[in-house]
């Protein structure tokens, strides 16, 4: 499973994946999924400007993974990749994971010493992600 946060300009602020040996593959997966995220955002912008739904849902399924997306109002994107075989994670679970992630991300942004756009190095954020990862795997 992998959790990735990218900035509004689509460069990564935070990437974490377990197991770590297949990291590059996850990077490719998330990187390409950004196309879908962008497309979804631009679609939303046209049709449903007032829509406050941040959860983008399943971006696309591959043979081995499911890729879910979430975008904040400031166009920061969250992407979660989980194993396709993991059936315990339904849409609702993923949704709550994103919400948790968003809350934690907001805390990071509240840190006066954090510059928006810098890689996230917060320990608190890290530990929350870790617990989520354990749950997801």
């Amino acid at each position: 499973a992998e959790i990735c946060i990218t900035s509004m300009d689509n460069y990564p602020l935070y990437i974490r994946s377990i197991p770590t040996q297949g990291e590059l593959k996850f990077h490719y997966t998330v990187h390409t999924s950004l196309d879908v995220v962008e497309e979804k955002i631009s679609g939303v912008g046209k049709a449903l400007a007032d829509q406050r739904e941040l959860y983008l849902g399943l971006l696309y399924p591959t043979e081995d993974y499911k890729v879910y997306g979430y975008v904040t109002n400031s166009k920061v994107k969250f992407v979660i990749v989980v194993d396709s075989s993991n059936t315990s994670l339904r849409d609702n679970e993923i949704r709550s994971m994103f919400r948790k992630l968003h809350n934690s991300f907001t805390d990071v942004m509240c840190n006066p010493f954090y510059n928006p756009g810098d890689p996230i190095q917060s320990k608190a954020f890290d530990s929350i992600v870790s617990t989520m990862m354990v749950q997801a795997c």
Binding site: E23, L24, H27, H31, D35, V36, E39, K40, G117
Partner: protein, 935 residues
């Protein structure tokens, strides 16, 4: 059918397929010249019918694909144009024979064929044949296009007759069952009289007629036929053909909605025909024929009837429906493994349509499906083609990252281990095309602004692949450039181990092909800008640029951008940089020098070796300006790992200045100073070129000889000497430094290499009184006290020294430090040569530090009454602490000669009544010491 045509688009259903092939030996370039001219005739307006026939040309077409011609008629080769060279009439029969052989290949489907013969003249060429055209040479064939048009018209006639023939088949007649190659065996022994079978035959035939109508330019007819076919085929669950009928419906609708075509730029229709007016005309012929039973139609009507608009709207699918029907068609195709190619092509066609509709999400679903379509064993080449097309399609719908991903996969496929001759060039080219998708440019300037932002892990991989591919391509220059770029831009993301590996391979490459600063241009026009190693080593931003002037011939560190000092033409100047090495190993920087502009500057390169992960490390770069004027220091150049780089200051992260301007003044002489005394540490306060220090006893005079040598090239014309005594609390008697410059000045002008000596006398005359508490003793004891040992601690200190005993401890010496210090600076101002004319001069200064020790001590004091009551004798025990003989003289008294370390009683007749005044008189003792020249 195993070979998909990845370039297909919906409007291809409207075309007729013509194969153009060379026959025998035809020079390739000549063939393609002719081929290009032929393909120029891509649409032909048919006389009298206002219809347009579209032609798709192929110079290669696998015959097994032709077998699917009944399924979708645009796959059927209906025309053949052979191009051949024939020089003599003798060859003609053989050529003619061959042409027949070639026709056989597509024989079952061909409507017509043409042979273009080049090079034949004479009797044979005279013959008038419709199927053969003779041209004297490849350059002399003006009517090729005309011939092709005639040929297309003849194809049209056959097509039209077939269409009418099939369309008028009444349902009562026995209809032949059309089938695709893999179905043939399934229908053996089937009951041909069942309703089911008949319906199947009807449905398939309807679909076929629809295809023919579409090709013949009767769009509305085609739509009606397709609709009917869909109904029929759906009722008998003939899924494959249902799919084809649905796709036909989609194709016809797409052609209606998008007369400009869906293939993008490369496949765009001729603008002359796709303009709005023409498009209307194109569809009109079909429009009037919209009836429920197209079988009863005729084709000769021209008049446009507005009532048909209703029918058109009903038959033609809406934009939304097109996609729905495509989906249905594809899912029907998906039921047949052997129809993979059809399914794949349908996906591609649908994606192109969606791209035009700007529905990227749905398009990506189609593509995703296309990825998983299994076409069985593909050749490597087909795999490459497949991935490339996927990449192009993703690009088309704006999924640049996905596009880059597949392009990279295609690139990797080019060099798959199973390929006997890996195509590294193709791989490299494809990899380069993926760069934008990974938001990577090969210009290091794009990375110099702030921290790197991007998908480092992915980008790193791509760069590694570029390096490897370029190496395997046999272009080490490219590898070096890419590897340099990797090292420069991705340094922060490399682990220590990777840093080592990357630099090692870089060194390997550069040993064959040193890297430079030139722009590398690739054949396809891409330019690879040079990559200066501004991070190897890293110039520290905070210390900025430190420049040592030589105007003062003194090292002065100035951290400014416009220097407030000048350099001198012809003299070595220095710039100090603070650098550090970010690498986990020793970094060897060679050929490091300054980059300047404005003045001829000879840079003297330095080589340095920076220890692993060094802290700040000063580097001094030197050079010689050859002319006078303003010089701007723009940066520095280095050579690291065999890659030479020019690092400009303006491009450096954190360095604010974009260069430093220094004025270079005309040449001046230069003096070197040496003294008769050894050099010492610099004085505390001043910046000096050199310093000397010496120890003197109070009253001692010593001569210092200063030798000035003109080590510059210019003649020394003027010389001035001034001195400045640094502020001291001590009271100084007489001159501290005295000199006579006359002798030296008489030697001027001083030529290069000559030297001049200046003697400087240093004399120390200080007041050491009041340091000893003799007077207290005197006061306490009064006059009567005699012969009491003076309790001055100095005595205890000095005695051992005088007796040369090592008992004296440093501690006690420090505690009662009686040594006084005098400091002064001698400043030489001199000038000459061209610089003098403009008023420039140089300064040279010498610091002099003298530690003065007292030469005598009064160890005891007592008084004796004198003959007169107004007088008394003052008895002083004087101790000579020096190792020399000295003469003591006092007012009104004879001199007393004291030998080294000798103590004598000195009598002074005092004329005042009060002993208290002794303190004043004491101060009036002037102890002059004369050096015993004998030692």
């Amino acid at each position: 059918m195993s070979v998909p045509d990845y370039m297909q688009c919906a409007e291809d259903h409207q075309t007729v397929l013509v194969v153009v092939q060379p026959m025998g030996i035809v020079p390739e370039d000549q063939f393609f010249r002719i081929y290009k001219r032929i393909t120029g005739v891509s649409q032909v307006s048919i006389r009298d019918s206002q219809r347009v026939l579209f032609i798709r040309y192929r110079h290669h077409y696998p015959p097994e694909n032709n077998d699917w011609g009944d399924f979708q008629t645009h796959r059927k080769v209906v025309g053949l144009i052979s191009v051949t060279s024939c020089t003599t009439a003798k060859e003609w029969p053989q050529t003619s024979e061959r042409f027949h052989g070639q026709k056989e290949v597509f024989g079952s489907t061909l409507y017509d064929s043409r042979l273009l013969v080049f090079g034949l003249q004479g009797e044979v060429a005279e013959q008038q044949r419709t199927d053969v055209a003779f041209y004297p040479s490849y350059d002399d064939c003006p009517d090729v296009e005309k011939r092709v048009e005639d040929f297309v018209e003849s194809i049209f006639i056959v097509l039209e007759s077939k269409r009418l023939d099939r369309a008028t088949d009444k349902s009562g007649d026995k209809i032949q069952l059309l089938c695709v190659p893999f179905e043939k065996k399934d229908f053996v022994g089937l009951d041909t009289d069942s309703r089911h079978y008949k319906k199947r035959c009807q449905g398939r035939m309807r679909k076929h007629v629809g295809d023919l109508c579409l090709q013949a330019g009767m769009l509305q007819d085609a739509l009606v036929h397709y609709h009917m076919a869909v109904e029929l085929l759906r009722s008998v669950n003939d899924f494959l053909w249902l799919g084809a009928a649905l796709e036909g419906l989609c194709s016809a609708s797409v052609i209606f909605h998008y007369p400009g075509g869906t293939a993008g730029k490369s496949g765009a229709r001729k603008p002359g025909v796709s303009s709005a007016a023409d498009a209307g005309k194109r569809h009109r012929p079909g429009a009037q024929e919209v009836l429920i039973d197209p079988g009863a139609l005729t084709t000769n009507g021209i008049s446009a009837d507005t009532s048909t608009e209703i029918g058109r709207a009903k038959n033609c699918l809406s934009q939304e429906d097109i996609i729905e029907k495509y989906k249905e068609a594809i899912s029907n195709y998906g039921k047949y493994k052997s129809a993979g190619v059809i399914e794949l092509e349908a996906c591609i066609k649908a994606v192109r349509v969606l791209a035009i509709q700007k529905r990227a999400m749905e398009a990506s679903e189609f593509l995703q499906n296309a990825v998983y379509i299994n076409l069985g064993q593909l050749s490597e080449e087909e795999k490459i083609q497949r991935y490339s097309v996927l990449s192009e399609l993703y690009e088309l719908i704006g999924f640049h990252r996905k596009s880059a991903f597949f392009k990279r996969v295609a690139a990797m496929q080019c060099v798959a281990p199973t390929i006997p001759e890996p195509g590294w060039k193709a791989c490299y080219k494809l990899l380069l095309e993926t760069l934008p998708g990974y938001s990577l440019s090969l210009d290091p300037k794009d990375f110099s602004k702030g921290t790197h932002r991007g998908w480092a892990a992915v980008q790193l991989r791509l760069l590694h692949e570029l390096v490897y591919a370029s190496r395997r391509m046999g272009n080490p220059g490219l590898s070096v450039r890419h590897l340099s770029f990797l090292l420069q831009t991705m340094l922060d993301f490399l682990s220590d181990q990777e840093k080592k590996e990357v630099t090692q391979s870089l060194e390997n490459y550069t040993s064959k092909c040193p890297g430079g600063m030139e722009v590398i241009s690739l054949p396809d026009g891409l330019k690879l800008p040079p990559v200066p190693f501004t991070k190897l080593p890293i110039l520290n931003a905070f210390l900025s640029l430190c420049i040592y002037t030589v105007l003062l011939f003194i090292d002065v560190c100035v951290c400014v951008c416009v220097a407030d000092f000048q350099w001198v033409q012809g003299d070595v100047c220095e710039v100090q940089l603070m650098v550090y090495n970010p690498m986990p190993f020793e970094l060897r920087v060679e050929n490091m020098g300054l980059l300047t502009s404005g003045v001829d500057f000879e840079s003297l390169p330095a080589a340095l070796s920076l220890p692993a992960e060094s802290g700040l490390y000063p580097v001094t770069l030197v050079g010689v300006p050859r002319t006078a004027g303003n010089i701007t220091i723009n940066g520095y150049h280095t050579s690291v790992f065999g890659v030479s780089s020019d690092c400009l200051l303006e491009g450096l992260v954190g360095v604010k200045s974009s260069g430093c301007m220094v004025e270079v003044v005309p040449s001046l002489p230069r003096l070197q100073l040496c003294t008769s005394l050894p050099r010492s540490a610099h004085l505390s306060s001043e910046d000096l070129s050199t310093s000397v220090s010496l120890q003197l006893f109070n009253g001692e005079t010593q001569q210092l000889t200063i030798t000035l040598e003109n080590i510059g090239a210019e003649m020394l014309n003027t010389l001035e000497l001034t001195s400045k005594t640094l502020s001291t609390k001590e009271k100084l008697f007489g001159e501290f430094l005295t000199w006579d410059l006359q002798d030296a000045l008489s030697h001027l002008p001083l030529k290069s290499g000559q030297s001049v000596s200046i003697p400087v006398n240093i004399s120390a005359k200080l007041d050491f009184s009041g340091q000893e508490n003799l007077l207290h003793d005197l006061n306490d004891d009064g006059i009567s006290v005699t012969g009491l040992p003076v309790s001055s601690p100095l005595r205890q200190v000095l005695k051992p020294r005088a007796e040369n005993k090592p008992v004296g401890t440093d501690a006690s010496k420090n505690e009662f430090n009686h040594v006084k210090t005098l400091e002064a600076v001698l400043t030489f101002k001199y000038s000459g040569g061209a610089g003098q004319v403009e008023g420039y001069y140089r300064e040279l200064s010498l610091g002099v530090r003298v530690d003065v020790e007292p030469s005598v001590f009064f160890t005891r004091v007592s008084t004796l009454p004198a003959t007169s009551t107004r007088q008394c004798h003052l008895l002083l025990d004087v101790f000579n602490s020096t190792e020399h003989e000295l003469t003591l003289s006092a007012k009104n008294n004879q001199d007393l000669v004291l030998h080294a370390s000798e103590c004598q009683r000195y009598m002074h007749t005092h004329t005042h009544t009060h002993t208290h005044t002794l303190s004043h008189t004491d101060s009036s003792f002037i102890c002059e010491m004369y050096r015993c020249l004998s030692g």
